[in-house]
Symmetry: C2
Subunit: 292 residues, 2 copies
DNA sequence: ATGGAAAGATAATTATTATTTATAATGTTC
DNA sequence: GAACATTATAAATAATAATTATCTTTCCAT
């Protein structure tokens, strides 16, 4: 029971004639006869009552015709479903990012959602060091990390620059200043993130270099909690600028550059080198690299 | 998008491997590769992520797989539907009969329904003279008439014998008798059916032959109404025995043979000589001829 | 009835399509 | 990076469906 045979069945039933059906199908009449008789031998029933020339279906023919039409409809539906996928009428983007890098994604997601509201975006929290592995294991399609991945099977694009910013409470003495020197920070109490981060070592060595005491009063695993503590005046913190931009713009926190701490880290959006990205992800990736 | 290609898609998705799928399909691995790539070029999307060996579907692959499974299910459903037809799990018998002959059908239908409760029986009222035409026009598959059809394309089987019976009210003087002579009927008032019937002429000529007055007081088009009038004592009537059997057996009417009126008419069940009878109708026909 | 036209069936041939065999390329794993 | 496994590709073969040609049947008209 081939789809094409079912098409012939439908054509004959519609045209009520083998030869007319042949014309509409751009086949010859024997081709139609043979297709029908193939169907008939397969299901073991006559489909048309040959005693009449008006293409009358048998009961079996009626039953099969019904299914044939449904199957053809389904095939058409399958084709439009795939087309919809291509045209981003549905689909999914899966991204892994960590607590820092996820902030970079926010404006990209916002813009993408505006353009393709029907695409689902699934951001999951990943540990930076493991994100390339997640990519390779196809757990996610895209990842955002703050280092260029070593894995040669992972391709990456630099998409944004991440720099450290000192955040202080708006009531703090430093609030309102543009920048500050490391030496001025000896008197401050710091709230630090205790996750393994490439920044951490660099910050510590910078303070040592400037013979300034780095007084870490609190260590926390949550960036969100750190920001709240700083807001309350419990201390100051050095955080990736992207993660505090929102609060700084709203005046909930004050942000200052630390003069001697100009190291920047590029954010990379990563994906499998040889993998097949979904249309949705491809478009997301393109948007991300364009929005740098 | 051929059904067989969709089967390959399903097999590969299930086995998560082209070569394993090839084994279960009893094909070689290149056959599977080619079938998939045929599908891919047709829909314009990759279906599997070849960068992995674990047969991961792309989003397009997932979407198409879903439809493929539905289509195969539908094909299986079509096959069982046709099988059901064959096994009388569903289907239809269409019969045309007139007011008289339909009574013959009752016990056949009763028995058929007992054996094949899922088959629909569609009895429609036809005018005897037109029933062969209905058969030829495929409006119905079977017909019951009280004459052998002239049309050589209509095949017929004698299935029952129809004889006239005189019905009288149970209170009537004749009630309780087995039979009566025509001469004794001159004093009776008759209620007659006014549809053109082969009996009518014969009855009239019989009465003439026996020099007995046939006093038709009422003519009606409804057998049912005639029976009710007779029941009420408004007169007597000559009706086909089959049509009054029920009332006679219940004692609502008394039935008598008229001695000189022994003409019988055979009932015939008819169908197209070269036509294709549905399974259901074939079985119905067989039962009808066996139950003679 | 009889002959002709039209529709469908059948047979043989041709064309198309799918499958196999053989081999190459690619990816995975240790 | 070598060995293994998996998939891709090419050419040949096999299988399948289409066409052409012909025949049979049915339907109409005379």
């Amino acid at each position: 029971m081939d789809i094409h045979e079912l098409e012939v069945l439908i054509a004959v039933a519609e045209e009520k004639s083998f030869s007319r059906a042949a014309k509409t199908l751009h086949r010859t009449q024997p081709a139609v006869s043979q297709a029908i008789s193939r169907l008939e031998t397969e299901i073991g029933e006559k489909l048309f009552d040959r005693s009449s020339k008006d293409g009358t279906l048998t009961q079996a023919g009626e039953v099969l015709l019904d299914y044939a039409q449904q199957m053809l409809n389904m095939r058409a539906a399958a084709q439009t479903a795939v087309k919809d996928l291509r045209e981003l009428q549905h689909g999914k983007v899966t991204i892994s990012a960590n607590e820092h890098t996820v902030f970079y994604l926010l404006p990209v997601i916002e813009e993408f959602k505006k353009r393709h509201p029907l695409i689902k975006i699934d951001v999951r929290r990943g540990v930076a060091s493991r994100i390339p592995k997640e990519i390779m294991a196809r757990d996610v399609e895209l990842g955002v990390i703050s280092f260029k991945p070593a894995d040669k099977f992972v391709r990456s694009h630099a998409v944004s620059v991440d720099e450290l910013v000192l955040i202080v409470s708006p009531d703090h003495a430093l609030a309102g200043k543009e920048s500050v020197s490391i030496k001025d920070l000896g008197i401050e109490t710091f709230i630090a993130h205790n996750a393994p981060s490439p920044y951490r070592e660099q910050v510590i060595s910078k303070f040592e270099k400037h013979s300034t005491k780095l007084n870490i009063a609190v260590e926390m695993p949550s960036l969100e909690a750190i920001k709240r503590l700083v807001e309350l005046g419990a201390g100051v913190a050095l955080v990736p600028k992207l993660t505090a931009q929102y609060e700084i713009s709203r005046g909930q926190l004050a942000g200052l550059a630390v003069k001697e701490m100009k190291f920047e880290r590029k954010l990379h959006i990563v994906y499998r080198r040889n993998g097949v990205l979904s249309h949705a992800s491809k478009v997301f990736l393109k948007l991300a690299t364009k929005m740098v």
